[in-house]
Symmetry: C2
Subunit: 324 residues, 2 copies
């Protein structure tokens, strides 16, 4: 809660966060997540410090070992001296507002490491939704000097996909024995993944998962073009940290490729365009709300509910009242 | 696929659908779901026939027996001569685009009943998302003379909630022995449910689920106000059709209460306002896209990606270029 007697000094908060003071970082993220009126001021002040972090999305079905993998990856990145941010996105119950998956226990070892910032975000309860809140939280972690920000998310649901789309590099985790592991790896997954991780590689079926992935890659798609990035398939046993160094190497390689080809710039501009557009749409939605206050939207809604006007014509009128 | 040689005659299609010709109904729904250019024409022609159907949302965690309950309910409603529409909303894989839950087998008995229209919708693959497509599909089922349209959806995820919000009457299913059944029934569920169904009532723990619900209701909230609707708790064994007649009675009672109090009108106007606003936002988004074509959004995105401009100021510029 913000006290009226002590208004937030954004400059001071940003300064303290830039010195990696965990409470200041947490406070900044809370500010931007909640759509505070200070949001614009915070974004403005953070902008000059952004663009350094490699944003890495980590997704996969429940049970493939995402949390274990994230924890092992954080350890490995810390060992090479990197500052690491973790944004853990939990699908949350529509009714309780509480997170269904609260299993952050594997991250406990990092909880007191000053070079690691961990933040859990529920998919609900953010102004404008997770899709609006996540880029802001990312920006904070980027600006406070994280070299890598890992976004860990369950690969199911629209919100989670929107979050994955924030990443420079997307890693898709698979594991053998997940019912029909390769089912998850149909068509679309080849498009979204920059790196495949076959976790629990000590279990039966791991080689088959990797073979199936390779076979699907051989079928072509964008990765078969000359100079294109061909997503590597890395086998890990994250619980024993096996293969994690190879994941770090693959991340390095992907970043280098993205820089060399201009892909990093393209992805970030695409991301920025999506963010700007989403904020602009929110501004317009608020203006509709003001019109609503002036009863225009209500009048239109009454006619639509009565079957006297179709919603498209009503929307045209609403837009016409706002737009030149 | 639409053939160029045989352009769609919307009037004829609407006419045939109004005579309950299943293929015409299916074709209309496909048209509106896919955001066809004919969408506006279809909506316009359907409007005069809308407003008759009671839209009933049916939601609950996986495993409580939603499909079984829907099937039993359809049978009961058919027995009293009602025309019934079913909109089954399946969460779908983000990658494959295929539905995770395809279990419509219990509806097979209704597949050839001319008084029942069943439509499955995946949560993805619709222009503007499920939230945009579902009201259109509902409108078709309403306009072709359904007395009740059941929307069956898994009670998890943003899209599903948006769909539940389309209902006149929302039924929440619970079942004993669902791990921690009552957990799902925290705070918010009391607000969203108009009718509670405790399914699998022949199992141990069913009475406890009902008692817990009653206890929570006794704690107050909006339902304790004078004249307010107090959600009944109906016990069913849907697999044996037990208690289903009581569900039908509860639906009747809720509809009568909504009509008497003006709540039906309020909900429908609220829904219409949300739909009109969403369409208006889409129109504006498209206009931004046109601006994008003119490179303005791209220019702004480049500056944001470079850290030279914050996204809020960029959005202000974008809106400023469009709005008076």
């Amino acid at each position: 809660m913000v006290s009226r007697r002590h208004p937030i000094d954004v400059s001071e908060l940003v300064e303290r966060a830039r010195q990696a003071e965990p409470r200041a970082v947490a406070r900044l993220i809370t500010l931007v997540e909640s759509g505070s009126p200070k949001l614009r001021e915070v974004a403005e002040q953070l902008m000059p410090y952004t663009g350094h972090a490699q944003v890495v999305g980590l997704t996969g079905s429940p049970g493939v070992g995402k949390s274990t993998c994230t924890a092992a990856l954080v350890t490995a990145l810390r060992q090479v001296g990197m500052r690491v941010g973790v944004l853990a996105v939990d699908p949350s119950s529509p009714f309780s507002g509480g997170a269904l998956l609260g299993d952050r226990v594997r991250m406990q070892e990092h909880a007191t490491d000053p070079g690691v910032f961990i933040r859990s975000m529920a998919t609900r309860g953010h102004l404008g939704g997770l899709a609006a809140a996540a880029p802001q939280a990312l920006r904070v972690l980027d600006a406070v000097g994280c070299d890598i920000v890992l976004i860990e998310t369950v690969g199911v649901g629209q919100s989670e996909i929107e979050v994955v789309e924030l990443a420079d590099t997307t890693m898709v985790l698979l594991a053998p024995g997940m019912g029909d592991g390769i089912q998850a790896a149909k068509a679309g997954i080849l498009e979204v993944a920059d790196i495949f991780i076959v976790n629990k590689a000590d279990r039966e079926g791991a080689d088959q998962v990797a073979r199936d992935l390779r076979y699907m890659q051989s079928l072509g798609g964008r990765h078969s073009e000359a100079g294109a990035w061909r997503p590597p398939i890395v086998k890990t046993v994250a619980a024993r940290s096996e293969g994690v160094a190879e994941v770090v190497a693959a991340l390095d390689k992907h970043r280098a490729w993205m820089r060399r080809t201009g892909e990093l710039q393209r992805r970030r501009e695409h991301r920025a365009a999506a963010e700007v557009e989403a904020i602009a749409v929110e501004i317009v939605r608020r203006k509709f709300g003001e019109i609503h206050g002036a009863a225009a939207l209500h009048e239109l809604a009454v006619q639509v509910a009565a079957g006297k006007l179709d919603p498209y014509s009503a929307a045209d009128e609403l837009v016409g009242s706002l737009v030149t």
